[in-house]
Symmetry: C2
Subunit: 267 residues, 2 copies
Amino acid sequence: MHLATVAHPAGTSAALLDGGVWRALPAPDLSAFLAAGSPTTAGAVIDGAVPVLPLPAPRKVVCCGLNYADHIRETGRELPTHPTLFAKHADTLTGPADDLVLPKGLEVDWEAELAVVVGATLRRADRSAALAGIAGYTVANDVSVRDWQYRTLQWFQGKAWDATTPVGPVVVTPDELDPAEGVEVICRVNGEQVQRDSTRTLVFDPADLLAYISSFTVLRPGDLVLTGTPGGIGAAREPRRFLADGDVLETEVPGIGTLRNTVRFTD
Amino acid sequence: MHLATVAHPAGTSAALLDGGVWRALPAPDLSAFLAAGSPTTAGAVIDGAVPVLPLPAPRKVVCCGLNYADHIRETGRELPTHPTLFAKHADTLTGPADDLVLPKGLEVDWEAELAVVVGATLRRADRSAALAGIAGYTVANDVSVRDWQYRTLQWFQGKAWDATTPVGPVVVTPDELDPAEGVEVICRVNGEQVQRDSTRTLVFDPADLLAYISSFTVLRPGDLVLTGTPGGIGAAREPRRFLADGDVLETEVPGIGTLRNTVRFTD
């Protein structure tokens, strides 16, 4: 199934794709739908439906850094024994076609990622419970302000700028997509491919991450876990390369879809 | 004013201390009261009121590390040019008298802190707006699982264990307490003082922190900012010292009150 939050002329709705049309699910968005735990029973066709940020209100957004072997090598580090985790906020997220608005003068970089949507309450879950607790997968770009990220030892201030992490356009259920089999994670800047790798090379797969996080904090339906980015980020290039005003950032996972966001620098 | 969330035989309520008795404010807790922005008009006396976690539902909990000159020196670092920030979740917080329940075998350490309660919506606030946007101050202990904190470069997994950061017992409004003048932050383990310092030595004061955070993300009424811990943590001692099962951790800021939490290790 392909699930989404769609905008339509009268508001927003959780929705299910059915033969090329979006049908309403009984909630204003996927965050509310997953939290309610209602059965996935589709209602009326929604005319003029456009997918927007699928999860506007996750209580937790947990991100994994350094999870693709080649990206770890480009940062000059050893393969990790534990996942490197940090948190974002719901405010950090933005929709699949939204502009990324930031003050000019920042070193803004891309990080294409597969994101996992939690579908159950998980606490001290083993791998099997974690795998069964996955509602689906979506696409994210952990857009990072590198100069702020590296001002201090903790990355948070480079990772938590409001409305800079695009997510969507849909959430695909696990019966249709298996990251263990390998799904491609692709990033393009103005049409030029800058990242491409397969989730087969993840050091910690989605079930590993959910189980590990749940060992110290509860995960709930609608929470979001970003699985890390492959090699090819701008900060690791020679010379270093960052996003410019007007650049079009595309983030694609075949089988899910493509985020297309334009960078807009403000004074 | 002293504000709190109090438990009473019929539930919980936001409350105002008035001549030694707690009077009801029109919300079930201080998070809801601050979010509603209602005037602080006290109602009926609440019999049997006991302060609990004052802010059960902050949307953001942002913490500053390395903010007291002496604590920075004990970690062997230079004085910072920017605050080191990381995030916790509402789930990480617990009440002023609650047990701290953790699996046995962890290196559990103390970090007494002054915490700032946001009272206004702040985005790109200057120091003056940030100062005016402070609802009050409370006490927190950023209890840290050191072995998990240092498993990776990012501290999050040692800082975000559910129900391990006690907060409270009350929120004192800025007219009664001025960290710039200096308030003491004290930590005791089984009655032995292990930390004591004055907020006069903060590198980044509460207004600095709120203004800085608001440069990249919005802060809202009821959000919580922890200002960092003074020297004296267990991990920096020779030999290193961590909390044991049954240890009583007291965290005090004179003028606000004392948290008293007992460590309980589980299998």
